[in-house]
Structures are given as structure tokens and as C-alpha cells.
């Protein structure tokens, strides 16, 4: 299972005399095997949301639960993919992927089997003994995704995973992630500021606003994807051309722009 619940969550940073309200009244449930993307301007607290689930940070009020259990520390059942990859440069691709399995005391033969299959799946098999810096950014992020996926986590947390990649690589990675997510569904919390990316990948898109960070709107993409049969199109650009996609995207853009206007007014 992997149900994430934000229960009236608030997060305040800084001193009591000069507090910064990063999150306010966050109510959100991500169902098991659901792919939820959070979009919003920088500083809206979307990354903070992810860090609370990861156990890197803790709420000032309310609670964040995974399968009804409050989160006390980071752990492999809530695997994280970082924007800057955060691979271990002194370990080879295989060693990077293997570490989490070793930590779980998985037997060597099973570890090798699982690592091999994820390497295959992510098109990394020929790079197994390379060091991360010998790979391109896209390849490195593939390793980071493989390192998270191999743990078979309940929840996958992705913090702008494609933000550091160039546009072409980004598209390829988005298509691959969709394939991976359809084939091997997980509960995914995906943080991004790219609206198209969110609409293309997610079952639901959460729009956040800034200062204080709170949820403005939650859009159901999945029902539209299914009724308009997006998945019959293999290429991302074909999906992005569909009227239903354009409509959703524009809606989110407007929503974000209103937010910006309100903030500057």
C-alpha cells in the first residue's frame, strides 16, 4: 500500500518573531498507485510538501501520514528522486543501485537479479560499471530513478526530477516515466513547475499558490486522459496536440497567472 495523507498541514520556518509560513492548511490525499503532480511558482512550498513525506522535514502543525502512520524518518519505502540526481560519484551505476538493497539485507543473488532487471528496463545495462560522471545528465537521472524503483517502494517522491535536463532529454525521460509508471504503478508524488509535464504524467494535478503556500485547485486529469484515450498516442507531442490536453494546460496556466497577478498586486 501507499496512501499519502496531508492532514491540515502547516509548516513555518524561521524565528517566532519573523515567521515565514511555507505551508498553510494543506489537505490532500494521494491514493494507492495514484500519480499526483504538484505545480506552482517557486517558493509555493511544493518541495516542502515532498520533503515532509520523505521525512527530511516535519510539519509545524497537522500531520503527514503514509498508510495512516506518521512519518518519523526517511526510509526506502518512500524513495526519493532528487533534482540534482544525488548519486554517489564514487560508486558505479550498479553499486549506486545496489546500496539500498544491501541496506535491506536482500540476498546477493536476488539483488543481482533485481538490479539487472531494472538496468535493462532503464536502458542502462551497458553502463552498469560506469561511474556517474561518465554519463550524461539524462543517464544519471535514469540511474537515480532506477535506484529508487529497485527498492519496490510504496511511495515514489520525485522533486523536479527533469528540471536539470535539456528539453530533448526531458521529453524522452517523460515518455519513459509514463511507460514505467503504467507498467509498474506506484504511488507517485511528483513536484514540477512545468505545466505540460504535470498534465502529461499525472492522474491528478494539484495547483499551489504562494505566500502562504496552500492548495488552490485540484484537477482530475485521469478521467480526461481515459475518456479521450491519450495513451493510444505513443509520442508526447501527439498528446500535447490534443484539444483536451491544450484545454487543461491553458486552464492551469490561467490559474497560475491569476495567482501571480494577485501576488504582485
Amino acid at each position: 500500500m501507499g496512501v499519502i495523507r496531508f492532514d491540515n498541514v502547516g509548516r513555518i520556518f524561521g524565528a517566532k518573531s519573523n515567521p515565514f509560513v511555507a505551508l498553510k492548511d494543506i489537505e490532500l490525499q494521494v491514493d494507492d498507485k495514484e500519480f499526483v503532480a504538484i505545480v506552482g511558482p517557486s517558493g509555493c512550498g511544493k518541495t516542502t510538501c515532498l520533503r515532509l513525506v520523505a521525512g527530511f522535514d516535519f510539519p509545524s502543525s497537522g500531520s503527514v501520514l503514509v498508510d495512516d502512520q506518521p512519518i518519523r524518518r526517511p526510509g526506502p519505502e518512500r524513495a526519493v528522486v532528487f533534482q540534482q540526481f544525488a548519486l554517489f560519484p564514487w560508486k558505479t551505476v550498479r553499486q549506486n543501485i545496489d546500496l539500498g538493497l544491501r541496506n535491506q539485507k536482500v540476498a546477493k543473488s536476488e539483488r543481482d537479479e533485481r538490479t539487472d532487471s531494472i538496468l535493462q528496463l532503464m536502458n542502462l545495462a551497458t553502463y552498469a560499471d560506469h561511474f556517474p560522471h561518465q554519463l550524461s545528465g539524462g543517464m544519471q537521472q535514469r540511474v537515480a530513478i532506477a535506484r529508487a524503483y529497485v527498492l519496490d517502494p510504496d511511495v515514489l517522491l520525485m522533486d523536479e526530477p527533469f528540471g536539470a535536463l535539456d528539453a530533448q532529454t526531458r521529453v524522452v525521460m517523460q515518455e519513459e516515466l509514463v511507460r514505467l509508471a503504467r507498467r509498474n504503478p506506484r504511488t507517485v508524488l511528483f513536484i514540477t513547475h512545468a505545466v505540460e509535464e504535470a498534465v502529461y504524467l499525472a492522474d491528478r494535478v494539484v495547483i499551489m499558490t504562494r505566500a502562504p503556500g496552500c492548495i488552490k485547485e485540484i484537477l482530475d486529469v485521469r478521467s480526461i486522459r481515459e475518456s479521450e484515450n491519450w495513451d493510444s498516442h505513443e509520442k508526447i507531442e501527439d498528446v500535447m496536440d490534443l484539444e483536451s490536453f491544450v484545454h487543461l494546460r491553458t486552464h492551469i496556466w490561467r490559474s497560475l497567472r491569476e495567482e501571480k497577478a494577485a501576488a504582485t498586486a
Partner: protein, 249 residues
């Protein structure tokens, strides 16, 4: 190098621009070299002086890094250790290592122990500071990734913290090694039965420029060679990092 030696020859014995009493000619230097090597000078032949100095440097260096690196790592890793040790360190650190020489000689005499102690004080500091900084400068996502993967404490120290800090640790080792040589020669200048510093000191009293230069060149070569050896070791230990540097990433 050859050009330099030619210039040296020209400036001293060929033209006499620099008088022999101020700076020795190449011939005088070679004569001094054969003097110390074959007839002995300042209590021993050159190889004895060299081996003795090298032995002391390596002993002091090893003691310093064996204590300094773990202490620095501990300070970087553990807030309590940092809070306890850092204040003491900040008070002791500004004392120049050479200022410990009189005390060391008073406590331990003119023998090896006093010199090892002084080298230890000098070489200890860069090892501690750089190991400490190496741990403190580990990027947050690296730490978070290790935590997210459920890495147990000892594995974290061995497989994440140590390698992540190792480029800085090696910087500390290099500085420690340099400090070891500087301090050894200074300590031997003040008081020693034999060693390269002793050669320099006696040669100064004897007004023997050729021998002074022999001593200085010997120290330079030894310092260079030991640093080189450390560099080779570093390149092997950090093969992933060397390649990363070459790749410009």
C-alpha cells in the same frame, strides 16, 4: 633545469659575480656533497642524515594523521564532539608549531620523541581542519539520499561519508606532510644529534656555503618525493574523483 645550472655556474665560478663566500659554485656544492657522503659531516654521512630525517618525518606525519583525520571526521559528523573540541582547538591553533619546540625539548630532550611531538603538533592541525571541512561540506542531497536508502551508520561512514570527504582529507594530508618537513628541519636546527637540519646548522656555524646548499637541496628533494608518493596514493584511492576532475564535472 640545465639552463638554471648553467646560469648558476656562470654567476658563481665562471664570472665571480657572486663571491664564493655568499653562494657556493656548483663545484663547491659537489665537493661538499662528496664530503658529507664519503667522509661524514655533522655526526654522520649524508644517507644517515637523510634516513634519520625521513624516518622522523614519516613517524610524526603518521602519528599526526592517525589522530588528526579521525578527530576531524568525528567533529564533522557529531555535533557534540564539535561543540566540545572546537573551542579547545581554536585556542591551541594560533600557537605556531615551532613555539612548541622549547617545551618539547624540555620535556623529551634532544632525541626523536621531542621532534615527533613537534611534528605531530604541526601536522595535526591541517589534517583535522580539512577532514572536518570535508565532512561538513558534503552536499545535503547526498546525505538525504543515503538516509532515504536506509543506510546503517557504519556503512554510511565507510561508504558515503569517507569517500565524500576524501578529496578534502587528502588536501589535509598534503598540507600535513609539508608542515612535517618544515617543522622537522626547524626542530633539528634548534637541537639534534644528526639529521638534515643538524647539517644545515653546523654548516652555518662553519661558514660552509656548499654544505648549506647540499642540506637545502636534500630537503627539497625529499619533500618533493614524499609529496609525489602521497599524490600517487591519492590518485589510486580517488580514481573516481580524478576522472571526474578530468571530465570537468
Amino acid at each position: 633545469m640545465i639552463v638554471l645550472i648553467m646560469l648558476w655556474f656562470l654567476a658563481t665560478s665562471a664570472t665571480g659575480m657572486i663571491p664564493e663566500g655568499r653562494f657556493p659554485s656548483p663545484q663547491a656544492t659537489i665537493a661538499a656533497l662528496s664530503h658529507v657522503q664519503f667522509r661524514g659531516y655533522a655526526g654522520g654521512v649524508l644517507t644517515e642524515h637523510v634516513l634519520n630525517s625521513l624516518r622522523l618525518v614519516l613517524m610524526g606525519f603518521v602519528v599526526a594523521i592517525a589522530t588528526g583525520v579521525p578527530l576531524g571526521l568525528l567533529m564533522g559528523w557529531n555535533r557534540t564532539a564539535e561543540a566540545l573540541i572546537n573551542p579547545i582547538f581554536l585556542i591551541v591553533r594560533p600557537i605556531p608549531p615551532l613555539a612548541w619546540i622549547p617545551l618539547a625539548i624540555l620535556w623529551l630532550g634532544l632525541g626523536d620523541a621531542a621532534k615527533i611531538m613537534v611534528i605531530w603538533f604541526a601536522a595535526f592541525v591541517p589534517s583535522v581542519i580539512n577532514s572536518y571541512a570535508g565532512v561538513r561540506n558534503i552536499e545535503k542531497p547526498t546525505l538525504e539520499a543515503a538516509a532515504m536508502l536506509g543506510t546503517p551508520r557504519w556503512r554510511f561512514i565507510r561508504e558515503v561519508m569517507l569517500p565524500a570527504a576524501s578529496p578534502m582529507i587528502f588536501t589535509g594530508l598534503r598540507l600535513s606532510l609539508q608542515a612535517s618537513w618544515t617543522t622537522l628541519v626547524a626542530a633539528e636546527l634548534v637541537g639534534a644529534f644528526y639529521g638534515l637540519g643538524r647539517v644545515l646548522n653546523v654548516a652555518q656555524q662553519d661558514l660552509y656555503p656548499g654544505m648549506i646548499l647540499v642540506g637545502m637541496i636534500a630537503v627539497a628533494i625529499l619533500g618533493w618525493a614524499t609529496t609525489k608518493a602521497l599524490g600517487i596514493f591519492e590518485a589510486r584511492a580517488l580514481n573516481w574523483n580524478q576522472a571526474a576532475v578530468l571530465a570537468g564535472k
